[in-house]
């Protein structure tokens, strides 16, 4: 496949080159065409990032007997321990609270992975970016795919808990699929935008790392939002965007009634986030190789 690689922009501050041969009009470095072209070219290389994403997972558990099964096991241990601990603290019944905490945790793990690894997505791939020409979206796709694989491994715990402690599941469980897709899209724009900014300003990753720790406790994962409703301060929880993402995936997975307000918030964040991230991609895509 011949893939035309075109580069260049039109800053007219160079005085013009009289000897320059007339080039066919190539879109500039800062054009929408090139930004979308990057996303498209990255998507077409899915056999590459698909393979790399798998390798990332297999790598982590290489030479261990259970391999990637450890993802599920460690998730199960943490979820059970936290479920029992916080269930006892808040006086919640274990058969509802344990699945609640576990489901919340597995969604949080995905969100957390996208936020943390997202800001380092280009910094971590410095070697590849500087030595191999590839669309920068390739690294974002690889990150999302890796996090999706982690999520699927963790989903085993949810399945086990739902079998052990039956939840009032209904057909709404299917809503978890579009909800997860929304999670993916948002992880994508966030990684792209924070990745680009963090490559330029290296203070961003530590800031983000400390913020996400705080975010974990602000999000109803190990505590229940419903129980706090009586407290007037609880309204501020709604200001935490992650809360809405957790809710849209968790509610269908636990058979809870669907609250459409969360979907509306997530939809709005998706639209705004994608737009801002695309502007970032358009303006600074070509600078990433210079900055890493």
């Amino acid at each position: 496949m011949a893939q035309p690689v075109t580069t260049g922009n039109h800053r007219a501050d160079d005085g013009g080159q009289p000897s320059a041969p007339a080039l066919p009009d190539v879109p500039g470095s800062r054009s929408w065409q090139r930004a979308f072209g990057d996303l498209g070219a990255g998507w077409r290389q899915r056999s590459l990032w698909g393979y790399l994403g798998w390798q990332d997972i297999k790598q982590r558990y290489r030479r261990s007997v259970l391999g990637p099964l450890w993802i599920s096991i460690s998730m199960g241990v943490i979820a059970t321990a936290m479920g029992i601990l916080y269930g006892a603290l808040f006086g919640e019944p274990i058969h509802t609270f344990l699945p609640y905490v576990a489901t919340g945790l597995l969604i949080w793990n995905f969100v957390n992975g996208c936020i943390l690894e997202g800001s380092e997505v280009f910094i971590a791939n410095e070697g590849l970016i500087r030595f191999l020409p590839a669309p920068i979206s390739l690294h974002v796709y690889r990150l999302l795919w890796r996090q999706t694989l982690f999520f699927l491994h963790n989903l085993v715990i949810w399945l086990l808990l739902v079998i052990v402690f039956p939840q009032p599941l209904s057909a709404t469980v299917l809503l978890a699929v579009p909800a997860f897709l929304l999670l993916l899209i948002n992880g994508g724009w966030l990684a792209m935008m924070s990745g680009i900014i963090a490559t330029r300003f290296r203070d961003i990753p530590p800031i983000i790392a400390s913020l996400t720790q705080l975010l974990f406790f602000m999000t109803p994962i190990v505590w229940s939002y419903e129980r706090l409703k009586s407290n007037p301060l609880s309204a501020y929880v709604e200001l935490n965007p992650v809360m809405h993402f957790v809710e849209i995936v968790r509610q269908p997975l636990l058979g809870q009634p669907i609250v459409w307000r969360h979907w509306a918030v997530v939809g709005a964040i998706t639209v705004v986030g994608c737009a801002v991230s695309l502007i970032c991609l358009r303006n600074y895509r070509s600078r990433v190789a210079y900055w890493v």
């Binding site: 260049g8 039109h10 080159q17 790399l52």
Partner: protein, 260 residues
Amino acid sequence: MTASTPPEPSIDIAGAAVDFPIFDAKTRSLKKAVLGRAGGRIGTDSKVPIIEALRDITLSLRRGARVALVGHNGAGKSTLLRLMSGIYEPTRGRAMVVGKVAPVFDLAVGMDPEISGLDNILIRGLFLGMTRKQMEARVDDIATFTELGDYLSMPLRTYSTGMRVRLALGVVTSIDPEILLLDEGIGAVDAEFLAKARTRLFELVERSGILVFASHSDEFLADLCDTAIWLEHGTVREHGPLREVLHHYKGRDVLAEMGR
């Protein structure tokens, strides 16, 4: 896929410049960007220092071009190769590259020590623009060439340096590039193997539409190239037939000394 190649490979660069911003710990922090804006300019210009790696590069290469890049260390050879590969987009001017580019800058990049030699062959090939199927068809050929045998199923970390170079060379010389960009650093293998690699390297160059080769080895350049670009301080000092450019660059007729 390679059989149907409607667009001819070509490289067109017009008035291109590549400027590297040099961020030290201070300028790369957000603090400075935010505070700097609020507090106004204090003393010296707070602009990021810039290295002009390439300036006013204008050239045009078509199918069949066999170009040597010569110049002193830091003249911009590697940067020009990366500009041609599309890794760097010019900060001023324009560059347009049509065709499947195979950049061979660092034999080790994209290699993973923890996975087997076979898996590394596949990944390296994918990075060089090949498809999975194409690479699977070439694995046997690479295995014979590298003489690694059963070692190919061992993790790469068990390989000696020489074996790694063999593997990397095996993959790189098995691909079908339209534009081949070579940056020296090919060597470090035993003489017998290098002789074998040479023939494969020549065959690779034969297959590729455009070759740009940066090297300090006159012999290699004379074998592979017919024209040359002499870079000096980031600009093209001379672009012409290999013999003339090398003569001016070295101050003596190097090709004649080699008896060509």
